[in-house]
Symmetry: C2
Subunit: 213 residues, 2 copies
C-alpha cells in the first residue's frame, strides 16, 4: 500500500494545517507563517514547511502562506470537497456514533447506508439512515458505485465483510474491528483499533505505579 510520493504522517498532518488555515481566514488573516501553523498544530515549523513542500511551493518569504489559497490547495490535494459516499457494516455502539457524527461532512464524507446481521436491527433506522441486511452489501455497493467501506463489527465476520465490500468495488476500508484484514494490493485499509491505544496508556500508567510503589 503505497501512498505514492507523500508520507502518510504528512498526509495526517494536512487536515490540521487545513483547519488552522480556515480558522485564520475566518479571522481575516491573509497570511500565516510556518511558525504559527506549527504552534497551533504541535509540529515544528520545519516540519510544516517540509510537509507543505510536498504540495507546491506557495509560501512567500517574510509573509508566510496565503491562508485562502493554501486551504484550497489542500482541499484539492486531498479531494476534501468531492462527495465521498461510504457504507458502514456493524450497527453497534461505535457504528451508531460514526453514523451520527456530524464532523465528517466538512470533508465531503457521507455514510449513506448501514448494514447489520441482527434481525432486530435490520430494516430499522439509525438517525436518517436505513439498516439493511448484510446479504445486500455487495450488490448495493456495486449499484451505487460506492468506494469506501467502514467495518465496525466484531473481529470474526470482518474478513468476510471486507471481501463482500471488495467484490462490490470498494477501494478503501476503514477498519475499526480488531481483525487483521487481508486484501488485494489496490485496496487501502486503515485500521483504527482503539484497544491498541489502551495498551500505550495502560503501559504508561503501569510504569507510574511501579515507580511510585
Amino acid at each position: 500500500m503505497k501512498s505514492l510520493g507523500i508520507p502518510i504522517p504528512t498526509l495526517r498532518r494536512l487536515p490540521l494545517y487545513y483547519q488552522q488555515l480556515l480558522q485564520a481566514h475566518r479571522n481575516g488573516e491573509e497570511y500565516v507563517s510556518s511558525v504559527e501553523l506549527g504552534k497551533a498544530t504541535g509540529s515544528a515549523p520545519e516540519q510544516v514547511r517540509k510537509d507543505l513542500s510536498f504540495l507546491t511551493g506557495q509560501g512567500k518569504s517574510r509573509v508566510g502562506y496565503e491562508t485562502k489559497k493554501l486551504a484550497e490547495i489542500i482541499e484539492d490535494y486531498l479531494g476534501l470537497m468531492d462527495d465521498k459516499e461510504a457504507v458502514l457494516v456493524g450497527a453497534g455502539n461505535l457504528g451508531h456514533a460514526l453514523a451520527l457524527y456530524q464532523g465528517f461532512a466538512q470533508y465531503g464524507f457521507r455514510i449513506v447506508v448501514l448494514f447489520d446481521n441482527d434481525p432486530m436491527k435490520v430494516n430499522g433506522k439509525v438517525g436518517e439512515l436505513k439498516v439493511l441486511p448484510v446479504e445486500k452489501l455487495t450488490n448495493l455497493v456495486e449499484r451505487m458505485g460506492i468506494r469506501i467501506g467502514i467495518i465496525t463489527t466484531p473481529p470474526q465476520p470482518a474478513q468476510e465483510i471486507a471481501e463482500m465490500m471488495i467484490a462490490g468495488g470498494i477501494k478503501a476500508i476503514w477498519n475499526f474491528s480488531t481483525a487483521h484484514l487481508v486484501v488485494p494490493e489496490d485496496v487501502l485499509v486503515r485500521n483504527v483499533d482503539l484497544s491498541l491505544e489502551l495498551a500505550v496508556i495502560s503501559h504508561y500508567i503501569n510504569g507510574l505505579s511501579v515507580r511510585n510503589s
Copy 2:
C-alpha cells in the same frame, strides 16, 4: 513524552500478539511461533521476535513461544490486569459509544463516570453511568484517585478540560477532540483524531479518480 525503552509501535503491536496468544491457548496450543504470530497479526516474523525481545527472552528454539506464559508476560508488562478507572468528558455520540463499549473491560479498563456541560444531559445516565456537570470534574478525579481521562468534546473546551483533569491528578489523556493539547511533560496524551484518517482515505480515493478520468 518518552515511553522509556520500548518503541510505541511495538507497544501497539503487543495487544495483537496477546489476543493471538489467548486464542491459541484456548485452542489448546501450547506453543506458537513468530511466523504464526506474524501471519495472524500482519507483521513479519522478524518484527514479532524483535518486539518480544523487549519483554524478555521467552521463546524456545524449534518450538516457539509458550502461549500461556507469554500472554502473562504481556499482561504484566502492559498492566492489563490492573483495574484502571477513567472519566470521560463529552457525552455526545462518540462519548456514548465509548462508555457503552464492552471491549475495554478485557484490558482492565473501566469508565466510571461521564461529564458534560449540557443541562439536558447532566444528572442523567448513559447505560449504568452517571453524567455529572463539568464543575465537579477536578474534585471527583482527585477524590477517587483517577489517573485516566477521555475527552470527546468539540475542540474549543478541550484544553480547559485537560487542565481540569490534570489539576485533579490525571496522568494520561485519551484525546478524541481535534484540539492540540498542551500539557506538562509527565502527562501522556494519546490523540485519536478520526478525521486525520479520513484525509488518508480521501487522498487515496482522489488519486484513483484522477487516474481514472
